[in-house]
Symmetry: C2
Subunit: 686 residues, 2 copies
């Protein structure tokens, strides 16, 4: 006998649709679902879940109508609905079944609600499907709300009852499982790896032939557990050159259960990307060392979030990972050397889906990893993730999205057209190559104001709330000393020096002011400004200002190049992504000429958009196809190959540079919390 | 720019077809290919390879018309072909090109032949495609020829030139490779694993952007090598409970380059299958130990055949593996315990395709393993391989195929219908549970004759050519002592004892004969026959005879059960597979009643059919689909669940049993090389 024909139908009574066409309407009852508005007439006795499936109403279920998962609970409404011509009553669903009474007692079922797999239609009824019972519900993103995400993870759980082995029909355990999944859930063509297959025999026998199966993309079995299970998790991993962040999510709710971050241990092989690439080129095992280091750090973070959330690591079945091209290559064990010089060839620019074990992740055998696509040699999967978080293609307004790191990745465009480029800003914005520069960490100056009268500064540290001239400052320090100045601090310091007249439009420190305030001192032929006298002293030197001028000119020139390509001379909105983008005060950025002209109210932080994008890819499978397609379509502009970039770059060196942005300075001044309020206008007029 | 549109066509001139429809026939030339008989008119100047592709003529090529591989050589014929209305001349292909002249000098191109990628049509020509230039050529199986195998391995090689990276178009290395493979070879939708991706960057750069790619099933890239490569290998692995055999094949020629065999190291955990299953059940790490042991033994054998053949292990990209269900499960790391008792549930009965690395094989990252499907809990992938080697479904004759091991797997049927079962013979046929039994190894008695007059025996040892009563015997022994008796020796010993009248039809040794020959002695209440007096002595005891009676009755009953199911009372041919099947003298098997009635000329050894089946699956990809389908269709009969099996079993205990086979004894006697010739008839009449 051909066993493929022996697929029997059970549980059809509970979950399967009944044909509604063969009965007179008199023996049928009307059911109306909200919020979908879907409705239909079904034979008396039809389970609510069966009616919902027939009508295509989105109701969740893991157990397939076996009253195990409680996911399918609905609220029957009481009342006369004139427009729909119906009198609805919860009584039209009959008494609570025994199973439902147990669920009410155990708190699994809310009083007044019914399990739609248990309740049967006896008369007309209007049913509300609460968000928690919808399979594809929207996940509200608490922070920095831009786009709600529809929860539709790549993994779904299916509970099923597998036929016991039979001497007469020697179908394997796997074949009987596949038959059950087809019978109960209509799943066909499923595949699985050897690692998952190995867990099948024990799961079936421990679960007494009942198992819960995790299926990825309706195509691949990624876990098999004995009995009923209703939780599956995933983690979004943002591999930055400086820090790595991991967010553990419940794939059934979309909720972030735990987050953890750590320094990228590759830092010991090189602070910035190019030094890591050169370490890989100069040391035979260099790339391998960095690959092991980053994988081990991610593993540690996974252990940490799993422990924080108190979940079973065997239920973490999906990872999404993002990173710039060098991080991407080192994570995957690909050679980063070609990324170190023109033409900056990526090994691959496509999204990858691989076993998590291939990345050295100590997760369940079936766990998979999805790595977002890279865009170009300097524009990585992190930028793809930023794009996915920001979705500039959904707007008519032209968005300029800037992710500032070692390079600045720039995305420009709208519904019609999108461009992307990377500008070689160097790491100055991250505090590197700055005399007293450092990463944004406790002890780093991140806010600076300078009194234009006295030329005296005040500042605030990372994580602090008091200014240095306020009484609470020393107390807040608690023994912490000032250790340096971070990227956003440098921006504000130079902008404030400019607003106070200490720095001229060409970026030169005005040595004549040394007479007015001893903070301005000569160092060789140039001058510097002493921001903080301590151990170490924090000075803003002429070299620092030059480094920032180069960086901001590169950023501005990149944006200008894309704008010219797109044929616009202004943008409608600017989004600043990344750590620097979230700390920077956009008014100062505009004073310095980092970003092009834009309504200040339309300039905002996109915060950790790369991490958000990774999370979206984790929770919504369609978003993966979407970003893969957008990455193909986005026009890649290579600044190094564009002559105009050099012209724009040179033109953008001044502070503030000679552009249409300059006249608007009057609007953004006075700076409300700055002592420079009155004088800035005077400065402008000068 | 959407890079997916930038697939450029190069090399089209050499290899691509030219449209033949736009020119008057006058400017076209006729080309006729043999042996296919395909013909067509093509514009003057068309390369022969392009014409062949257009016509669907099977000509091999790895380099895609770049005159690198020499695979496409053809022979232009001279002469007038009246029936085809053409005068063919090699001159109609013009002079040898410079590249071809080089190939002739290097011996790569036979004098008179042409490279079809280089030669162009100038006039009418008839072209012979020699077998060596055909992609799908038949592999002649030297030994035990039954079915020729069409060479169509799952892996093919493609040489290609990849575009260099370009600053303006940031396509990744992989994307440019995929573009080249689509452009040159029409391959689309290819995928690859991370391990192979890791080799891409170096291969492209070392090969100066020329690479050879191994593609599996036109779907998956499994290797990328710099420059031009034209060899790819695979190995067929037969995992027996006693021995493991590995055959290394050249996938481009089908040739077996090297073979190696070794004892299955699992023997240290249990001699037979059931003792290994019980070891796995009684020891927590037992199954894991046996999995490691067998994988390590296969690895060692692979190292050995690779060294023998002197090839690069990185070019071994495909394995096929067969084994009985317990071997299958232990190899894969699945729990064999459920196979130890009814209902003998397999974890899976489908064929598996997995990374060779998942089986712990130390091969190239992209190497894959194909494990043939199991049929039932006692009928494994080895039987599937036997079926594939024998193809009983291609015959109208009814075949009975028996693979004797610990159990006897039996396949019965023809074109219309196929049945399979396993009979619980126990390991007696392998020499186990026999007082002086041993595996077939040097020192084991494998042939026995007994003089019916004197009752004196003579025997021959495994590997020997002299009988024990011949003068050369002692010399041949060279210090080797007689160590025991193997399965085929036992069969002949008992059959000879029966023919000499020492054993009665009920299997009892006739104690009265002790008076005629002192070799017959009493042991307690029963008697035994001393075959060899030495250290150790080799006796055939009453218990030994009972064990063989049980085993042969089980085998016969299994065959009878299947015959009854199929509705036949005789079979047209019998094939005996496996080591026992290849050593056994079928006449003695028939005397004992091991096998049902059949024309003796139609009883033959299928030798190592399981290994042959594994090799077929290695060399011909369609054979995999075929055996997967046949395994689904074959009717599985579980002897343990059939009441009739018990009846047949009891009825088959006698020697020779009371069946229609018995009358034919007169035909198979006299045994030509037996001194019992004359007497056997007497015995029969008795």
């Amino acid at each position: 006998m051909n066993r493929r024909k022996r697929v029997r139908r059970v549980a059809a009574d509970a979950a399967g649709p009944r044909k509604a066409d063969t009965m007179p309407d008199a023996k049928k009852a009307l059911i109306l679902f909200s919020p979908s508005g879907k409705r239909g007439r079904f034979p008396v006795g039809t389970p609510v879940l069966a009616a919902a499936r027939e009508l295509g109403v989105d109701i969740d279920s893991i157990c397939g109508g076996r009253a195990r998962c409680g996911r399918c609970q609905v609220e029957p409404l009481e009342g006369t609905f004139a427009r729909e011509g119906m009198v609805s009553s919860p009584a039209h669903l009959g008494e609570l079944t025994e199973v439902e009474q147990q669920c009410v007692r155990s708190g699994q079922l809310m009083a007044g609600n019914r399990l739609s797999c248990q309740a049967r239609l006896l008369g007309d009824v209007r049913i509300d499907v609460p968000p928690g019972s919808q399979l594809h519900r929207q996940v509200v993103r608490k922070e920095y709300e831009v786009h709600p995400v529809e929860l539709d993870p790549v993994i779904r759980l299916y509970f099923t009852q597998v036929a016991e082995p039979d001497l007469q029909f020697p179908d394997g355990d796997l074949q009987r499982l596949l038959q059950a999944l087809e019978r109960d859930w209509g799943l066909t063509g499923l595949e699985l790896g050897l690692g998952v297959l190995k867990s099948l025999q024990a799961a079936l026998r421990q679960g007494n032939w009942q198992v819960t199966v995790a299926v990825r993309d309706e195509r691949r079995i990624v876990a098999i557990w004995p009995g009923f299970e209703d939780h599956v998790y995933g983690a979004a991993v943002d591999v930055g050159s400086t820090t790595i962040a991991v967010h553990l999510c419940d794939l059934s709710s979309g909720e972030v259960l735990a987050s953890a971050g750590a320094m990228n241990p590759q830092i010991r092989y090189g602070e910035d990307l190019m030094s890591r690439v050169s370490y890989a080129m100069l040391n035979r095992e260099g790339a391998g060392q960095m690959t092991s280091a980053v994988r081990s750090a991610i593993n540690d973070l996974l252990v940490s979030v799993i422990a924080q959330a108190g979940i079973d690591s065997g239920h973490v079945l999906e990872l999404t990972l993002v990173g710039n091209p060098v991080m991407h290559h080192l994570l995957l064990g690909l050679d980063p050397a070609p990324l170190g010089s023109a033409p900056f060839a990526l090994a691959t620019d496509q999204a990858l889906e691989i076993g998590a074990v291939e990345l050295g992740m100590q997760l369940a055998a079936g766990a998979r990893a999805y790595i977002l696509p890279c865009i170009a040699g300097h524009v990585g999967a992190d930028t793809a993730a930023v794009m996915l978080a920001e979705k500039p293609w959904e707007l008519d307004e032209i968005s300029l999205i800037i992710d500032v790191g070692t390079n600045a990745e720039i995305v420009l465009g709208n519904r019609q057209r999108l461009l992307a480029a990377s500008s070689p800003t160097g790491p100055a914005f991250e505090g590197a190559q700055i005399s007293a520069g450092q990463r944004a960490a406790p002890g780093a100056i991140e806010r600076v104001r300078i009194d234009p009268q006295t030329l005296e500064p005040r500042f605030r540290l990372v994580g602090g709330s008091c200014w240095s001239d306020e009484p609470g400052f020393a107390e807040e320090m608690q023994g912490q000393t000032v250790t340096g100045i971070c990227g956003s601090g440098i921006i504000e310091a130079i902008a404030s020096m400019y607003l106070a007249g200490i720095v001229r439009a060409d970026g030169v420190i005005d040595g004549a002011l040394a007479q007015r305030n001893p903070r301005i001192t000569a160092t060789g032929r140039t001058f510097s400004y002493l921001l903080h006298d301590g151990e170490p002293a924090v000075r803003i030197t002429q070299t620092d200002i030059r480094a920032i001028q180069l960086a901001k000119a590169a950023l501005y020139a990149g944006a200008q190049l894309l704008m010219e390509r797109l044929g616009v001379d202004k943008v409608d909105r600017i989004r600043l992504a990344g750590a620097f983008g979230s700390r920077i005060d956009v008014r100062y950025a505009m004073v310095l000429g980092l970003i092009p002209d834009c309504d200040l109210a339309k300039v905002s932080s996109a915060n950790n958009a790369a991490g958000t994008g990774a999370r979206i890819a984790l929770l919504n499978r369609a978003s993966r196809k979407e970003i893969e397609q957008r990455v193909l379509e986005v026009e890649k502009v290579e600044t190094a190959a564009e002559k105009k970039f050099q012209d724009y770059f040179v033109a953008a060196m001044g502070i503030p540079h000679a552009s249409h942005a300059f006249p608007r300075l009057s609007e953004i001044m006075p700076l409300p919390d700055s002592p420079a309020d009155g004088s800035s206008k005077g400065h402008k007029r000068r």
